[in-house]
Amino acid sequence: MIESSVSGQADIEEFSRFIKLVQTTDWMRGRHKQIAALHALCTDSSHFFILNEMFERMVVMAGSTFTEAADWIANDISSYTGNDPKTHRIIPHDFDDKSGSSNALFEKLRISFSGISGWDSAGVFSKNLRDTLSDKTITSISVVDDFVGTGSKVSKLLAWIANNRDDIRVDIISCVSLKTGFERKYDAPVFRRTSAWKVLEKAISEMIPSEIRDLAIQAMKDLEDAHGAIPESFSFGFEQSEAAYGALDWSVPNNTFPIFWKKSRLEQSTLFVRARR
């Protein structure tokens, strides 16, 4: 049984907007308890407003969204000039180490590639980066993950690859990337390009109109305070990434707003799950 929660007053516009959002947004269904727990943090209408803004902007990897992203990636890799299935390998890889996304991504990509002539063999995939680098017939690779954040882990990976083999070319492909990681200038010589199905701007400071931005920032800070268990270093996400990103079947990155994944003192269930390190 789900206990009911109480919260502050939503105005009718935000109440109405929430009802419409929950009716039309697949990932919100079945997450009653988690959403009610977020509503319970609200003490005035600006808090409902910022939650609605986030629910509306949130890119969530699940179901049809995941399929659409995988299909887009398959098309992007197979149609990129110079990519030949004989000399190119696709490597699902968790930039976030333990997100658990790579197996799901591998299975999904296999389906997406199955309809593309020349790329429909399991041989175009590799699960082992080190083995792939040791195969001199492979001249380029696509390292694929569900999410790229600020790009710091991508940068380390590129440096490691360059250290092992500097004549290969590496594409960093993701379902979703923060603009910071997408536009970052990676200086490793092996780096060729980044590509992403969706590129996310900062969900408040770059997306909310300037006339109400201060109100929105304050509202999110209020929710973090009410939550009560968010360290300053994770406020608004790692390095204040402000990522409106979620996943239902694997761990979310710490770039996502922490009220959506950090357990509060009272709540044991969060909207999304982040694996413990």
């Binding site: 789900i2 007053q9 009718i12 109405s16 009802i19 009653h32 959403i35």
Partner: protein, 103 residues
């Protein structure tokens, strides 16, 4: 199925008003929008509630929802009223089907 505070509150409002406005319930009780919405949908799926656009909220955006559900309350108000006022929060699905059948 067991009923929670939000379910019971919706029915208490129905007992008094014969129609509900979830926003009005939120204003008066501060039960979260999420709890009220999911309660209303769940009750509607159990054929206990028919959600009309103007009853759900004073908005013009909910035609689709209004077409999905059936409302038994008009036909069986006294029975529901008795059940919910006597034993809020501890009813089983079987209990409620029985009360629907007997009215």
């Amino acid at each position: 199925m067991k009923f929670n505070t939000s379910d019971a509150t919706i029915f208490q409002f129905l007992c008094k008003n014969e129609s509900i406005n979830l926003y009005q319930i939120h204003e008066e009780t501060k039960i979260t929008p999420a709890d009220l919405f999911f309660s209303a949908v769940r009750l509607a799926e159990l054929d206990m509630l028919y959600i009309r656009r103007e009853e759900l909220i004073r908005s013009k955006n909910f035609k689709e929802l209004a077409l999905k559900y059936r409302w038994d309350f008009v036909n069986r108000p006294k029975r529901w009223k008795a059940v919910f006022l006597d034993e809020p929060g501890e009813l089983t699905e079987g209990d409620n089907n029985a009360s629907l059948d007997s009215t």
